[in-house]
């Protein structure tokens, strides 16, 4: 008997996620090649460090404009998502306390509180990505037009930029691991990078509240 499948992410969302994912990886890769002199060689993947810097500067605008375009053309999906990550329920608080049971040997969780379509960790990550990306975009734009600002301001902006960049990079490493590698949650990969479908059994276990909602 074939498992009953549920669509978790719409096509527009999946395309947007793919594009933003590729952009982010290129930005992180070229960014690191510029940040650490020892990693300068990473820039050679684009021919030379100068090309990497050029790509980093101009692709940055695309990185900012892409979510904007998504928000404008798929306003319904976007506002639903923002509403979803803006509501922290008491269950979410409990979830955060046990880290969703993902740190099983460290923090034991008998019952992981039931979650909605996305869990508290994903909500938090949503905000981290939005806030840090905006920070990166603002500081990056200032660094692009560095000649229009006093030197000391650009020096501070560079510090903010490299902090946001490395922090977001670290967050994405964890995001990728939980979504694609970790045995108990890697099925999630297909919902974003595949056809968007996930089997019912998984939803019952991981997104119980959302399942209730769907049944209605």
């Amino acid at each position: 008997m074939a498992k009953k499948m549920i669509e978790k992410h719409k096509k527009a969302t999946r395309i947007f996620h793919w594009l933003h994912l590729i952009t982010f990886i290129i930005m992180l890769w070229t960014g690191l090649s510029l940040f650490y002199p020892a990693m300068n060689v990473m820039g050679l993947t684009f021919g030379s460090l100068r090309n990497a810097a050029f790509l980093h500067k101009y692709l940055g605008f695309f990185y900012l404009l892409l979510p904007l375009a998504y928000a404008v053309f798929n306003f319904n999906l976007f506002s639903k998502f923002i509403k979803l990550i803006s509501t922290f329920t008491p269950e979410d608080k409990k979830w955060m306390k046990v880290f969703g049971g993902y740190l099983a040997p460290l923090i034991k969780a008998k019952d992981v509180p039931p979650q909605g379509k996305i869990n508290a960790g994903q909500k938090l990550l949503g905000w981290i990505i939005i806030v840090f990306s905006l920070c990166l975009g603002l500081t990056g734009s200032m660094m692009f037009f560095y000649a229009s600002f006093p030197g000391y301001l650009i020096q501070i902006v560079i510090i903010v930029h490299v902090f946001c960049g490395t922090f977001l990079g670290s967050a994405i490493i964890v995001h990728f691991y939980l979504g694609a590698v970790n045995p108990s949650s890697r099925k999630e990969l297909g919902t974003m990078l595949g056809n968007g479908m996930i089997d019912e059994e998984y939803v019952v276990k991981h997104n119980a509240l959302w399942y209730e909602e769907l049944k209605k």
Partner: protein, 259 residues
């Protein structure tokens, strides 16, 4: 190797701008048409194809008289631009010259922002005074091809080139003479600031009047960026990667059941 330097004596400069034109000529830089915005400095500021300018000042005294400042990279003893450069294009040579390799430059502009004077200009690549690095390193002493082009060209004898220690001594003597002549504010700019500048200026008036910062310091933000943010970034990225790696190892054999 002894630090080399050149010294500009503003009391001898007559504003002919011979140094400025010979700088363009030797370094093969594009020239600009003259503009006039109410003052004689031309071009009005440094730009990506102008490494040095003579600044004109006519408002220091009530009775009108001209004062000049040769304005270009000052070749700091502790150059912030070299620290900030992410690609290794900027470097400080053994003899103290802060020079660059345009082939390595990625035009990020960090040097411009890190410089206490905001000197480096970036067009397609960086441009700034390199004290005629190729001349100093490879020229010959006998026909003065080992001195920077501007120093060789100076008609008024306002520019000196040599070992920095000698020039500092010479400059201090000149300042004493100027003080005796009645210029109470006379000073030698760049003796000790920023690790000792490689371009010394004998000024008749306070540095601020010439638009120079009196006590510029190495930008602390550049130190935070390079000495704190670099390891912090590695800790965060490495920490995240290590955490998930460890987590995966602890989950070996888990085929997707409960956790």
């Amino acid at each position: 190797m002894d630090r080399v330097a050149y010294m500009f004596d503003s009391s001898k400069c007559m504003g002919c701008r011979g140094c400025q034109s010979v700088c363009k000529e030797w370094n093969d830089q594009k020239t600009d048409p003259t503009t006039f915005n109410g003052f004689y400095t031309n071009p009005p500021t440094l730009n990506p194809h102008t490494r040095m300018i003579i600044n004109f000042y006519d408002d220091f005294t009530e009775k009108q008289n001209f004062n000049f400042l040769k304005y270009q990279c000052f070749h700091c003893g502790e150059p912030a631009c070299v620290k900030a450069c992410p690609s290794g294009a900027l470097f400080q040579a053994e003899n103290g010259i802060v020079a660059f390799d345009i082939n390595k430059c990625i035009a990020c502009g960090y040097c411009h922002s890190a410089c206490p004077f905001g000197i480096p200009q970036i067009g397609k690549v960086i441009n700034k005074c390199d004290m005629c690095y190729s001349r100093v390193m490879e020229g010959s002493k006998s026909d003065e091809t080992a001195t920077p082009a501007c120093v060789k060209a100076c008609l008024g004898g306002a520019l000196y080139f040599g070992k920095r220690d000698d020039l500092v001594k010479q400059g201090k003597e000149k300042v004493e003479i100027l003080k005796k002549e009645g210029y109470a504010e006379a000073n030698l700019y760049g003796e000790n600031i920023l690790g000792g500048l490689g371009v010394l200026s004998i000024l008749k008036y306070e540095p601020e009047k010439y638009g120079l910062p009196k006590d510029p310091v190495f930008p602390v933000n550049t130190l935070i960026w390079k000495n704190i943010m670099h390891p912090l970034g590695l800790v965060m990225l490495g920490g995240a990667a290590g955490l998930v790696f460890l987590h995966r190892i602890l989950q070996t054999g888990n085929k997707g059941g409960d956790q």
